[in-house]
């Protein structure tokens, strides 16, 4: 796995965007990501749609390498850690977690996160509806809050549609940044892209396996 980095500054804070769908906040020693959707593939399987477990394995492998690379103290998940009901994927996740006993995990609750408190306690994950660490407010869905703080959120799975000559087109995931907010790409590879609703003044950082490009 190749981690490509892009340093940006927002509100005088330095953030590192990566092409692996997570950003790192040095000052807080925090790795920040959104929309992991753990349990999605098992949820599909339970309903008769065969989606292989390797999808989850690969997401977790990527996360592991990011953690090993940045050595964060904290993991902020800006919503949708889990996709649906409690299923075998969550068991997989639990045993995966045991390799990082020191890591503090905070989940900002998303629309998919409806797991019981006991499960979260069991996983040692702290659940909040939002998190404020100046100058940022972390929230899953920006449309649900009014604040003057700079917001960091997920939920939308932002993407960019690039059009070339001869009817060529290409969709890439991206970070979407405006004056008031940063929207993270979905961490899981088993998610769709939303290329609509891009605000006019937004700066997009699109990425591939080997590069990050600003639009």
């Amino acid at each position: 796995m190749h981690i490509v980095k892009e340093h940006i500054t927002i509100k005088n804070e330095e953030l590192i965007l990566t092409n692996q769908r997570a950003l790192y906040w040095q000052r807080e020693h925090a790795l920040i990501l959104s929309d992991l959707h753990i349990g999605k593939t098992a949820h599909f399987r339970k309903h008769g749609i065969p989606m292989p477990d390797e999808i989850l394995q690969r997401d977790l492998q990527r996360l592991k390498e990011l953690i090993n690379h940045f050595k964060p103290q904290r993991l902020y998940i800006v919503g949708d850690l889990f996709h649906a009901e409690r299923n075998s994927d969550i068991t997989t996740f639990k045993s995966w977690l045991q390799q990082f006993p020191e890591l503090k995990i905070i989940l900002i609750q998303g629309n998919h996160d409806r797991q019981s408190k006991s499960l979260m306690d069991d996983l040692n994950i702290k659940v909040l509806s939002k998190l404020e660490i100046n100058p940022f407010t972390f929230i899953h869905d920006i449309s649900e809050i009014q604040t003057d703080n700079f917001k960091i959120s997920g939920h939308l799975h932002p993407g960019i549609l690039l059009k070339g000559k001869g009817k060529q087109s290409l969709k890439l995931p991206c970070y979407q940044i405006t004056k008031h907010q940063l929207i993270l790409p979905a961490f899981s590879l088993f998610t769709g892209l939303n290329t609509k609703n891009t605000p006019k003044d937004a700066i997009l950082y699109a990425f591939t396996d080997t590069s990050i490009t600003r639009f």
Partner: protein, 817 residues
């Protein structure tokens, strides 16, 4: 034989017909007799000659002759591709049995049937049931469905030619095989219009060795008048769509002179456009002119159909939505606007007028640009020589197979060994291997090959009694919602904000609009207010200008059959015979083409190089239809860019394609034969196109049919949101983790067979390699290249500036004269 001729049943039917002043056609009589002699078979007859009564009365006569052979309940199953057909057929059949004095009940069952009626049918099936292939499969997904079908004597497949070329045909083949299992002595009868491969069509429908098989062909020929409407002036530089408005004045008198006219356009967008044009030109047509296409509310469509039948409507602008269906008695005239792209489709549409047996069908052809007149001439030649396209049956469609397997598992369950033998007898799966079968079983029971990857997978299970079954209710429900092989674009409902449903529209189109924008649907100008939960809320708009949606499914490619005749006629057009008025009219255009460039003879292939301010253009004219040209053009771009690194913009239509570059294109007499060579053809094609991108698009339908993608139903509250994913995503997942997945393989096969039309491409290159290749340098756009240029401009510019731009190009072209 004489026994049948003297039978009581035949006597009753003959008397009944005589009372109405009718006598059976020879082909009807022949069908009745063969049926009574226990034959299965296929009836080939044009519409309007009583093909329905050939098979229907055959069963009635057989019943009258030996009622003790028939049990209570279902006797005849009538499967037709269209729901709208069923209602009127049922009416005609009910009338017949009533008059004959039979106590049979004839009923319809399809998606529109109310639940109460369905439950009643499930308690006691009628004697005759009219239904669709999809509804048959839904019936198979019910518990204890076999008891309904065990005494069926005959299954009739109506309009078989409409089903055979697509996956609904495979659904039908499977339905027949299941019925035959329930009722082994079943007689199977198909009814079809003339197509190019009748023998094959018969074999696909009737692949069973234990059947006595016959074919009955009606000798009656529909008389057909093809009248092309010539514009007042010839445009020597033609462009698509241009003639539109000026032709309205030619259409109005035709509408006035006939009782009821059907006006066929090729796309829903065009239908909306022409509806507006006609109304603007003659406002008092309001109320007498209607518009009918697939995106219009079903109730409105039914109303329109009823009012065509009653003769109330003067004219209806429509798309292929009215290609098939009920016989509209008052329709005495058909107008086709623009190219019809195929011989069979043209004849089908023409046949919508003059429906009773001895009337003539009358079709007017309105060109949208003058080159299309060559097409009329080609159509006339093809029809005269009775050359109609073949409809190739689909094979090894694993998506349909796994759907069918789950359908049976939801129903009564199936035994693997038994079902494998049943499937292997079906034409579509005659080449299925034991391994393929195991894969399918695995797919529905375990999810995939590597068991560990599919923990918790739950769909079909092997029950204690050795049968594969679906046990969980939610999975049954999800599956029933997904049965069928028609995968539509994602459509959203359009409603007035104040309430009132207008129709459906593709999400793709609506996603490009902003609130406040106006668009046209169902002949109404509407303003977008808001999009909410798969529903578009609108209000009436006063805007004069509005966008009319271009539906993605709208573009039909030219058939190879028609393109063959087109090539012949184009070279004829230089020296038209006295009787070919279209070609004579076109002579100035063709002469100009010949003067400034060249008119390719039937054994020639024309390449034009033109340099303009825009850059360097290369035009080629294979006349193979848009689909083939799409592949052909990217292949040429690929081969040329191996000579020199170039970036091309590509444009194409049904006649040819254009490559445009900002630098000179290194093509001349010395290398053209290599560029157009047959060597490494398919390798180069694969290198030039993104095959996996195309396969991913094909996979969309496959994923839905195989149940990998759960379709959200517009308007229903339960949208199964947590199970939403895109087929593109699943395609990538399978490419990564299960590259030998049969459904994935099927997507690539479909790309080669359908999208790339590999066989047709090979043939085209064979033909070109035998042709004389003519490379011409033209000083400006020629009559052949001009329509292509306009099409490529259209993609990039708004309409107003487009008109100005076209005028300028034309003026430049004429300056060289």
């Amino acid at each position: 034989m004489s026994q049948f001729k003297e039978s009581e049943g035949l006597r009753i039917i003959n008397n009944w017909m005589a009372e109405k002043g009718q006598a059976p056609f020879p082909f009807q009589l022949q069908t009745w007799q063969r049926f009574s002699n226990r034959y299965s078979g296929m009836v080939v007859a044009p519409t309007g000659f009583g093909k329905t009564f050939s098979v229907f009365l055959a069963v009635v006569i057989d019943y009258l002759n030996q009622p003790n052979q028939y049990s209570k309940g279902l006797k005849l199953l009538w499967i037709s591709p269209l729901r709208s057909l069923a209602k009127d057929l049922a009416k005609a059949m009910t009338e017949a049995v009533d008059e004959i004095g039979l106590d049979w009940s004839v009923q319809v069952r399809n998606g529109d049937t109310p639940t109460a009626v369905r439950r009643k049918q499930e308690r006691l099936m009628p004697d005759v049931l009219l239904t669709t292939p999809e509804t048959m499969h839904l019936l198979f997904s019910q518990k204890k469905n076999s008891k309904w079908f065990s005494n069926v004597k005959c299954v009739a497949i109506d309009e078989w030619h409409e089903l055979i070329g697509n996956k609904r045909g495979v659904l039908t083949e499977l339905a027949i095989s299941q019925l035959k299992r329930y009722s082994p002595k079943l007689r199977i009868w198909g009814i079809t219009a003339t197509i190019g491969n009748l023998e094959e069509a018969k074999h696909v429908l009737l692949p069973y060795d234990d059947l006595k098989i016959t074919q009955v062909t009606a000798k009656q020929q529909k008389k057909l008048d093809i009248i092309s409407v010539l514009p007042d002036q010839i445009e020597v530089l033609p462009w698509a769509g241009h003639l539109g408005a000026s032709m309205v004045d030619k259409i109005l008198p035709i509408i006035a002179a006939n009782t009821t006219t059907l006006i066929f356009t090729n796309t829903r967008g065009q239908a909306e456009l022409w509806y507006q044009l006609l109304l603007n030109a003659q406002p008092d047509l309001a109320g007498l002119l209607a518009i009918h296409h697939g995106s219009i509310d079903k109730k409105l469509r039914n109303w329109i159909e009823d009012n065509i039948s009653s003769g109330y409507l003067k004219a209806v602008v429509c798309t292929s939505s009215l290609d098939l269906g009920v016989d509209f008695k008052p329709v005495d005239c058909v107008i086709q606007i623009g190219s019809v792209k195929g011989v069979a489709r043209f004849m089908q549409r023409a046949g919508r007028s003059g429906h009773s047996p001895f009337e003539r069908s009358k079709i007017y052809f309105i060109p949208t640009h003058s080159l299309e007149l060559v097409e009329v001439s080609a159509l006339k030649a093809a029809i005269k020589e009775k050359r109609v396209e073949a409809r190739d049956p689909m094979v090894l469609t694993f998506d349909v197979l796994v759907q069918f397997m789950v359908t049976l598992a939801v129903g009564e369950g199936f035994n693997s060994e038994e079902l494998f033998h049943q499937i292997k007898a079906v034409h579509a799966f005659q080449y299925i291997t034991k391994d393929d079968w195991q894969w399918c079983l695995h797919f529905i029971t375990k999810g995939g090959k590597t068991l560990k990857s599919y923990e918790e997978f739950h769909k079909v299970i092997l029950d204690d009694d050795g049968k594969y079954k679906v046990k969980r209710r939610r999975i049954s429900m999800l599956h029933r919602m997904n049965i069928g092989a028609i995968v539509s674009e994602v459509n959203v409902m359009v409603k007035y904000k104040t309430g009132g449903y207008i129709g459906m529209i593709e999400e793709f189109f609506i996603s490009k609009l902003k609130p406040g924008d106006s668009f046209i649907l169902a002949g109404r100008v509407l303003e977008l207010v808001q999009i909410k939960d798969m529903t578009v809320l609108v209000r009436r708009s006063k805007a004069k200008k509005a966008i009319s949606p271009s539906w993605l499914g709208g573009r039909l490619p030219l058939t190879s059959h028609l393109s063959h005749y087109l090539r012949l006629k184009l070279s004829d057009a230089l020296l038209p015979s006295r009787l070919e008025k279209e070609l004579r009219f076109l002579n100035p255009l063709v002469s100009r083409q010949d003067k400034h460039s060249h008119i390719p003879k039937a054994d020639e292939f024309l390449v034009e190089l033109i340099e303009t301010k825009d850059g360097y253009h290369l035009f080629m004219y294979p006349f193979e239809g848009r689909l083939v040209h799409e592949v052909f053009s990217s292949l040429m771009a690929y081969r040329i860019s191996k000579l020199k690194e170039l970036t091309f913009t590509i444009a194409m239509n049904d006649y040819g394609f254009e490559l445009l570059s900002d630098q000179p294109i290194p093509v001349d007499d010395s290398n053209i034969e290599t560029l157009l060579g047959k060597d490494n053809l398919m390798d180069d094609v694969i290198a030039s196109i993104n095959a996996s991108e195309m396969a991913s698009r094909k996979f969309r339908d496959i994923a839905v049919i195989a149940g990998l993608v759960v379709q959200s139903q517009p308007g229903t509250r339960k949208n199964n949101k947590s199970l939403q994913s895109s087929s593109g995503l699943i395609f990538r997942v399978l490419e990564d983790y299960e590259p030998d997945n049969l459904l994935l393989r099927q997507a690539y096969t479909e790309v080669f067979n359908q999208q790339l039309e590999e066989a047709r491409l090979q043939q085209a290159f064979d033909r070109i390699s035998k042709s004389k290749i003519i490379v011409k340098h033209a000083k400006s756009f020629t009559p052949l290249s001009f329509p292509l240029k306009v099409d490529s401009l259209r993609g990039t510019m708004s309409n107003e500036s487009l008109d100005k731009r076209i005028q300028r190009i034309k003026e430049q072209a004429f300056k060289i004269d």
